[in-house]
Symmetry: C2
Subunit: 264 residues, 2 copies
């Protein structure tokens, strides 16, 4: 069975320059593209995820949640960040449900736990069960309980990498699509890099264009690194511009316009 | 370590006679009582849960979610019910956070799965990890993925019973408090039954007063039956009236006014 993991980047679904601001018109257009892709390809099996954008990234930066319980406000702060993460996911969930997409919000911190930022609990049988019953699981970057430092954050990118690796070892054929508000991975001259492989990355990694807007979980370079790890499992990833009409729709049907990250 | 599971019943936090209507004034008062109890007893370790009330009970009844995928709307319906369940939990979470209570919403369907309504996945290590780090996990009645029938519903009562049994076998001393808008378990003459034991239940079960307002997960008798099962593990449960000022506060500090369900 083929499974597509589609991430709606924080830059795509929120206005990163304004705190707690979603972009409902764009979310609605994306929901429409996903709904149309499901009609065009009834065998499409999806897992969705959304970035935190101007929701949880703000509170996470304020409370330093990724590095754990550093002061007396950290425990409370971790709870606030988690609530913020749920909030954006809820807004998008409602838009998808309005288009009749059977999307089932799935809280990462309820099935993942870390110890010193290393994964120690990873209960992924339920996500597989959801897919078998044709639910579309919908995850998000989340506060994760850390047994050593109290809290950390796992980005949607990292959570997708965990899920993709699990499903791949279970025999599913997995691909990962990241839709943002940029045309792909850019070199320092702002040109889209068509393809990145583990080999080519060594040459270009120092010259990637980095977006300056705050992102507590690491930005483009970390994103590509997560995807490169997946190439060893035969998983291809794509980074594309979700603001361009039909680009997500076409990607879901296999036509990619953006950057491909693959083994060769 | 002592752990108290406190359920805020659907009848307490919502207006069951009006769809999708929370009772914010009451939720605020309850949040205040919990916050004061934490100050009075800094060793208080809590797990919270909320009933579905006039939120998910409505959609669950509409789509028949407890009995699975019965028609072509069931998959979509299960997703809607799940969204409704999250929505009420979110409203209460915000009220608790406003009182500085470190409450962490925890999605039951992300760590529990069933097959023909029997539990087959139950990943409870994370809830224990949360308590160890002093988070207050906050669960709710939820749509559960069922490998046989597609979906089912587990009530907060059942989820509490699962969590209480797990923590008890791990060596924690657990008690369960259910706060509703009724003074306790009532006999047919509307008098509060002070104590129910497995032995006394045999005599009184046929004459319990049942509330007529729709509750897809079973009402008072099922609630008491779940609690009676826990008595075999030495877990006491209490049913009390959360609308009465300070009754939750006092119960959290060990002073119960309502019905006690215990082994003897």
């Amino acid at each position: 069975m083929n499974i597509t993991l589609l991430k709606l980047g924080g830059s795509l679904v929120t206005d990163k320059s304004h705190a707690y601001t979603a972009v409902p018109e764009r979310i609605k257009l994306i929901a429409d593209e996903i709904a149309r892709a499901q009609i065009s390809d009834p065998d499409l099996r999806l897992i969705l995820g959304n970035g935190a954008g101007s929701f949880a990234h703000r509170s996470a930066a304020k409370y330093g949640t990724i590095n754990g319980f550093v002061d007396e406000n950290s425990l409370y702060g971790a709870c606030v960040v988690h609530k913020d993460a749920i909030e954006l996911n809820r807004i998008i969930t409602e838009a998808l449900l309005k288009k009749n997409i059977p999307v089932f919000s799935l809280q990462p911190s309820a099935f993942l736990m870390t110890n010193g930022k290393k994964l120690i609990e990873s209960n992924l049988r339920i996500i597989e069960g959801m897919i078998q019953k044709k639910y579309i699981p919908f995850v998000y970057g989340d506060v994760i309980v850390d047994q050593l430092q109290g809290s950390t954050i796992l980005s949607t990118d990292t959570i997708f990498a965990i899920i993709a690796a699990f499903l791949s070892t279970k025999g599913y054929h997995v691909r990962v699509i990241h839709a943002g508000n940029y045309p792909g991975v850019l070199d320092k001259d702002n040109n889209v890099i068509q393809k990145i492989t583990p080999e080519s990355f060594l040459e270009i990694s120092s010259s990637l264009h980095e977006n300056r807007i705050v992102d507590v979980t690491g930005g483009m370079k970390l994103k590509v690194e997560e995807m490169l790890k997946l190439t060893a499992l035969g998983i291809e990833s794509y980074i594309l511009d979700g603001t361009q009409k039909n680009r997500i729709y076409q990607a879901l049907l296999g036509k990619i316009k953006g950057t491909t990250i693959s083994e060769k």
